[in-house]
């Protein structure tokens, strides 16, 4: 590593608020929560057939908790047929509904993905590709028959037949089919904007595309598979949680099964007491035993677990991010280090004029005027920013190039690194004055050539601006052959608004942010301090990035980064979360485990939040589900045994109407809570960046304490409502 500088974590001094800038697309606002779409009741109805289909034990067995519910439902149905009481049938109905509601949650979550997949499928039109033959000719081939390495020609108005890289030409492409963004994008051969996606349409010009996909494995194909959740695999945390839930289920099966001999004994000890619908000489009735079991096993989280996972991926898709695996989404929540490219992520894309510094007695206004004049022909963003700055700060009207008579404009080129204007004089003769603006060294040379001298304070200012991370541009004028330096325009990187707050949030969440930049260490440090990142990597080469990621990972850290270029591919592959920009090369997209269709590097922060939200939702609902059991015990145990041991009626603290209504209320609550929580599962619990203990305190209070209290109220309310219906009286 040659010139890498990793700064110590910087604690930047207070920096005065910079002037307001027009909002940039994708610019982060103040902290906000990750939101999902709302649940439409019609969606529940539409998903009902799917939910019924999912009752098939051949598929349901994958969800052990709900599988037990289904077995219980079948068992009680048999019992209810043999012993026809209204109470038994009510329980049976609600047990089936419990299983159905769980399936409904999953079906609704999948349904949203299916709708998206439908929209994508429509874009898969069967086009004919114009394949170039080795001989130099052209042949018509159906798009699905294209192979890797084939070259095809696409002209304005035609669809690109498959994923690939542009190898010849430049074109504007409408990618709205996959990104939803209607503004066309430029795709050109070479460089980092060469990748095109099948199904998108060329709007202008002609390009030659080399196909990089295998048949049937196009980007759109993969996208469809992803949003449909066709081969959704459980993520590591989901597997771990499933194990915990399964063992809790076993504990409760044991607790309920071993209750029976104890119940028989207890009943036999009190011979005078008549049988009830809950407890007879053969112990607790099958219907009630199953009810107790279903209420105790963690059905709430068991029912919603897969919906949470699907909805998490779905939230990413809604933000135009495609995750190639759920594992990557989960890893995003665990990220310790975030590598962010300076340009586009931390700063808005380009540097802007922020200051005019006159030298050698020049008037500030004169400098501003000269700077503006000389920049009129400079179409680079820097040049335009000078014109705007002069207008805004000095009230200088922006003039169109044609407005000035006898003016000859000198456009900016990468060779001269100067732009300017020649004013006055007759056509063909010597101009009265020439104004130039450009890179310090070029303008200095230009002045010296014309016999001018460089004032010493100009050199000092140039060095000072460079040192503080800015770019100095010199403005000079030559009147009648005598050249002099008028002053300096300081260009600076503009840190996006709200970034400092974002990074402070990240720090509170325990995520270290590292800015990656090609700038020299001095410039990098100054921007890093202004933006409030923890660290920076200056003069970064792709190798440096890779080395940095490896170093972080050796310490056990998880690293996330974004990238677009081919040379980013190794680092993207090495990072635990690699987000490739859709505008980038195919190599980058292959290497990363997510693709951002908006090509917005700030998205990484949102991805981290979605990853965390996914885990929090699971944890919160697990806690809620387990805490619920306390109330259910207090409803069901006295209902079963108070007849034998009247003292146990003390446990009936909800004062439920009758044993039947108590048991039924618990079962109904258990089923309804699933439906009630579907929106939460799909949306994810509210997430606000905060330290671990604060977040835990909040979620424990909400879902732990809430889970303890809510069912007491819910069961009581249901009991009040159902105590009049036959079977529960």
């Amino acid at each position: 590593m040659s010139t890498t500088a990793i700064g110590a974590p910087v604690s930047p001094p207070d920096i005065p608020a910079h002037p307001a800038h027009p909002a940039q697309p994708g610019q982060p606002g103040p902290p906000r929560q990750v939101r999902g779409g709302l649940l439409d009741p019609r969606q529940l109805w539409r998903s009902a057939p799917d939910a019924l289909r999912k009752l098939n034990p051949a598929t349901l067995y994958r969800n052990p908790v709900m599988f037990i519910v289904e077995i219980g439902a079948v068992f009680t149905t048999v019992l209810a047929i043999r012993d026809e009481t209204a109470f038994a049938w009510l329980i049976v109905i609600w047990l089936w509904l419990t299983a159905l509601f769980a399936n409904l949650a999953e079906a609704v979550a999948e349904g949203r993905g299916k709708a998206q997949a439908e929209a994508l499928r429509r874009t898969k039109t069967d086009t004919l590709a114009r394949r170039l033959t080795p001989a130099g000719g052209e042949e018509q081939v159906p798009a699905p028959r294209l192979r890797q390495g084939d070259r095809v020609v696409v002209e304005a108005g035609e669809f690109i037949p498959g994923d690939g890289d542009v190898v010849e030409g430049i074109a504007s492409v409408d990618e709205s089919a996959i990104t939803g963004e209607s503004a066309p994008v430029i795709r050109e051969a070479g460089g980092d904007r060469s990748s095109v996606t099948g199904g998108t349409r060329v709007l202008s010009d002609r390009i030659v595309v080399e196909i990089t996909q295998k048949p049937g494995e196009s980007f759109i194909d993969r996208m469809i598979a992803l949003v449909e959740g066709a081969n959704r695999q459980k993520t590591p945390n989901e597997i771990a949680l499933n194990i915990l839930l399964a063992s809790l289920t076993i504990v409760f099966v044991l607790a309920v099964a071993t209750l029976q001999p104890l119940a028989i004994f207890s009943k036999a000890q009190q011979p005078g007491i008549p049988d009830t619908s809950a407890l007879g000489g053969n112990g607790v009735t099958g219907i009630v035993l199953v009810s107790l079991l279903v209420c105790l096993i963690p059905t709430t989280i068991g029912a919603l677990l897969s919906a949470i996972g699907i909805a998490g991926m779905d939230r990413l898709v809604q933000r135009n991010v495609l995750a190639m695996s759920g594992r990557a989404v989960e890893a995003a929540g665990d990220v310790n280090t975030l590598l962010l490219d300076k340009t586009g992520t931390i700063t808005i894309g380009n540097r802007e004029a922020r200051e005019f510094l006159p030298v050698g007695g020049t008037d500030e206004h004169e400098l501003a005027r000269a700077a503006q004049l000389s920049s009129l022909a400079d179409e680079t963003p820097e040049g335009r920013s000078i014109v705007i700055y002069a207008k805004n700060t000095y009230g200088l009207r922006e003039r169109a190039p044609g407005e000035l008579t006898h003016a000859r404009f000198v456009a900016f080129t990468a060779q001269t690194r100067m732009s300017g204007v020649d004013l006055g004089g007759s056509a063909g003769g010597q101009p009265a004055s020439e104004v130039r603006k450009g890179a310090a060294s070029s303008v200095m040379a230009w002045v010296t050539e014309r016999g001018g001298t460089i004032p010493p304070d100009a050199g000092e200012l140039v060095d000072g601006i460079s040192a503080s991370g800015g770019t100095p541009l010199l403005v000079a004028e030559a009147t009648d052959g005598a050249a002099r330096v008028l002053g300096i325009v300081a260009l600076r990187d503009i840190v996006k608004q709200g970034m400092r707050e974002r990074f402070d949030e990240m720090r509170r969440m325990g995520i270290r942010t590292v800015m990656i930049t090609g700038d020299n260490p001095l410039t990098a440090r100054s921007i890093a301090e202004e933006a409030g990142v923890d660290d920076f990597l200056a003069e970064a080469t792709p190798e440096d990035k890779l080395a940095l990621i490896r170093r972080e990972q050796e310490g056990g850290k998880l690293v996330a980064m974004t990238g677009d270029g081919t040379n980013d591919a190794p680092a993207l592959a090495q990072a635990d979360v690699g987000v490739a920009m859709n505008s980038g090369t195919s190599a980058a997209k292959e290497a990363g485990n997510m693709v951002d269709l908006d090509s917005n590097p700030t998205k990484l922060i949102e991805i981290v939040e979605i990853g965390k939200q996914l885990l929090i939702t699971r944890g919160a609902l697990t806690t809620f589900s387990i805490a619920n059991d306390v109330a259910k015990y207090f409803a069901i145990i006295p209902a079963i045994f108070a007849a034998v041991y009247p003292g146990l009626d003390t446990l009936n603290i909800m004062r439920l109407h009758s044993p039947q209504s108590a048991i039924l209320s618990a079962v109904i609550f258990n089923a309804l809570v699933i439906i009630a929580l579907i929106p939460l599962a799909l949306r994810g619990v509210r997430y606000r960046p905060a330290s671990a203990s604060r977040m835990l305190r909040r979620n424990l209070c909400l879902y732990g304490l809430g889970g303890l209290i809510v069912p007491f109220i819910g069961i009581k309310l249901i009991d009040l409502a159902i105590q009049f219906i036959p079977g529960a009286r």
Binding site: L241, A257, P261, G510, F641, L696, N699, Y703
Partner: protein
């Protein structure tokens, strides 16, 4: 000084003494387990057994060593008990019956010390000294070794080795258990406990009658009985016997001894993981649970509304008048919260709800502070479960002390949590389903059910205390409880060591502001909450039909 004040002083001094020894004794054990030096005597042991003390073991090898050592222990003890009549110092007692010998051998090797026999009328001095007392030492040491292996799993990185069982075992015995036991025995002798090799003698009582009294090496066995949280008394009535526990202050000392290792090991843990506050959090949870249990228990005993209790001021039935209610309640809470199971009062005679607290203590899985070693690993397993749920709630893959809690870790932890309730509940249900075993109950109804539930909970948790009242010296109970003890001891050890192995392999995750702080009161509170909720949910139905049915009016 009235009873309440006396009780308060008793408990406050106890808490103070444990707090004072926490640091020094925990640090001492830390040095024992991390020292590179071997004592000469230890080297001799290693040469004798033929192990290389420098070679660490993988978790599976460590486990095999634990199991092999324990199997040999069971076989040896079984043989000794069966054949005691052919050996010296038998005091003329016959060999034990097979069922009871199996039960007793298993009971002492598993650190349960459930006694289906009556010591003074069954066993000679050789069986007591060479059989039971030896297991009192080594079974305690096995538990501590396994706990230390788990702590190593948490501290080591990218290795598959969790320590050397033979070194841990030898060091625990020679450097920790023996020295303290020797001193404690001498102190107990000074307090009036007997230490001799006398057989049964006839004495004339004050009233003029004659009584046969058995002497023996009581003090030496008493010391390790408490210090190693064993609980197998020399006499049938255990620590209620004046030769075992002569005075109120020896009663205090015994409670102190049985809590000492349990409460100091978290310090050792904190030192080993390099953050003593982590140990403090664990010990705070233990202390909180124990003090709460004691307060509830003493409260139920003092405030009982029966006719007789009201007349004498408290439910004093079954308690030793020498120790009074607070001394008895403190002993009862401590003995059921550790895996000791020694008693100085009769749990069967406690009020229904007072007895229920003792039952719940054991159901907690003996984690506050629990048996020697087993308490720490039980608590750490619960910490893993707590971290998992809490970790999800803060949006990160859960991690404890930098180690990620993934599916493999959760699998081991879940199996651990599952084992003891499964054994206790299945055992109870099986006994209640059999008419013959139901007949073994002394009491009818809910109280009888509590007796059976207590027996299996005690065996599955390796506690060893009995609710009494129930006749357990039958082949069925001897065998069933023996199996319960084996399963309740060694299955958890398999999962603990498995967990240690999978933790040791990991590269730790660095700590950041996003890491769940596991040394703060917040986490300690949540850990205590998880412990209580898990138990409440698992055992509520059984408790409802036992002590709750009896106690609620």
């Amino acid at each position: 000084m009235n009873t309440t004040t006396a009780g308060l002083v008793f408990v406050v001094v106890l808490v103070g003494a444990l707090a004072l020894s926490y640091g020094p004794f925990g640090d001492y054990m830390y040095r024992v387990y991390t020292s590179k030096r071997h004592l000469r005597m230890e080297r001799a042991v290693y040469r004798l057994v033929g192990v290389d003390p420098e070679a660490d073991q993988r978790w599976s090898t460590y486990l095999r060593s634990v199991l092999a050592f324990s199997v040999v222990g069971v076989l040896f003890l079984y043989a000794l008990l069966r054949l005691q009549h052919r050996l010296p110092l038998s005091l003329g007692f016959a060999g034990m019956e097979p069922g009871q010998a199996f039960n007793t051998a298993v009971s002492f090797v598993t650190n349960t010390n459930w006694q289906s026999y009556s010591g003074e009328s069954t066993l000679g001095h050789l069986a007591q000294m060479a059989g039971l007392a030896v297991q009192n030492f080594v079974s305690a040491a096995v538990g501590m070794s396994v706990a230390i292996a788990l702590v190593r799993g948490l501290t080591r990185k990218r290795t598959d080795q969790v320590g050397n069982f033979w070194v841990d075992l030898t060091r625990t015995c020679l450097r920790i258990l023996l020295p303290v036991a020797v001193v404690a025995a001498v102190v107990l002798i000074a307090g009036g406990a007997i230490q001799n090799l006398h057989g049964s003698r006839a004495i004339t009582t004050l009233a003029g009658g004659t009584q046969r009294v058995t002497g023996g090496p009581v003090a030496s066995q008493e010391a390790i009985k408490e210090f190693g949280t064993n609980g197998g008394g020399f006499y049938n009535v255990n620590s209620a016997h004046p030769f075992e526990n002569p005075t109120s202050w020896t009663n205090w000392l015994q409670i102190y001894l049985l809590l000492l290792i349990g409460f100091s090991l978290p310090r050792t843990f904190g030192r080993m993981v390099g953050n003593t506050r982590q140990g403090l959090a664990i010990v705070a949870v233990m202390a909180g649970l124990l003090i709460a249990s004691f307060a509830v228990n003493a409260g139920f005993q003092m405030a009982h509304h029966g006719t007789v209790p009201s007349a004498v001021g408290a439910a004093a039935e079954g308690t030793e008048t020498r120790f009074g209610i607070p001394g008895s309640a403190a002993f009862a809470s401590s003995t059921t919260m550790t895996s000791t199971g020694a008693v100085d009062s009769f749990h069967d005679s406690y009020t229904s709800l007072g007895g229920a607290t003792l039952l719940v203590n054991m159901m907690l899985g003996e984690i506050a502070p629990g048996g020697t070693g087993s308490g720490l690993y039980g608590m750490l397993i619960l910490a893993v479960i707590t971290v998992f749920v809490a970790g999800l709630m803060i949006g990160r893959t859960p991690e404890y002390l930098g180690k990620k809690i993934g599916s493999r870790e959760i699998k081991f932890a879940s199996l651990y949590i599952l084992t003891t309730p499964a054994v206790a509940l299945i055992g109870t249900a099986a006994a209640m389903a059999r008419p013959g075993e139901r007949a073994g109950m002394l009491n009818a109804g809910a109280h009888g059910l509590s007796e059976v539930l207590y027996a299996f909970t005690s065996a599955a948790n390796n506690n060893g205390s009995a609710f009494a009242g129930i006749t357990v010296n039958t082949n069925w109970y001897n065998t069933a409880l023996g199996i319960a003890m084996l399963a309740g001891r060694f299955l958890p050890m398999v999962f603990v060591l498995g967990l240690a192995g999978s933790l040791a392999r990991q590269q730790p995750v660095p700590i950041s502001a996003g890491t769940l702080p596991t040394q703060r009161p917040q986490f300690a509170g949540m850990l205590a909450g998880v412990a209580v909720i898990v138990v409440a949910l698992t055992y509520f139905p059984a408790l409802a039909l036992g002590p709750l049915a009896e106690g609620l009016h």
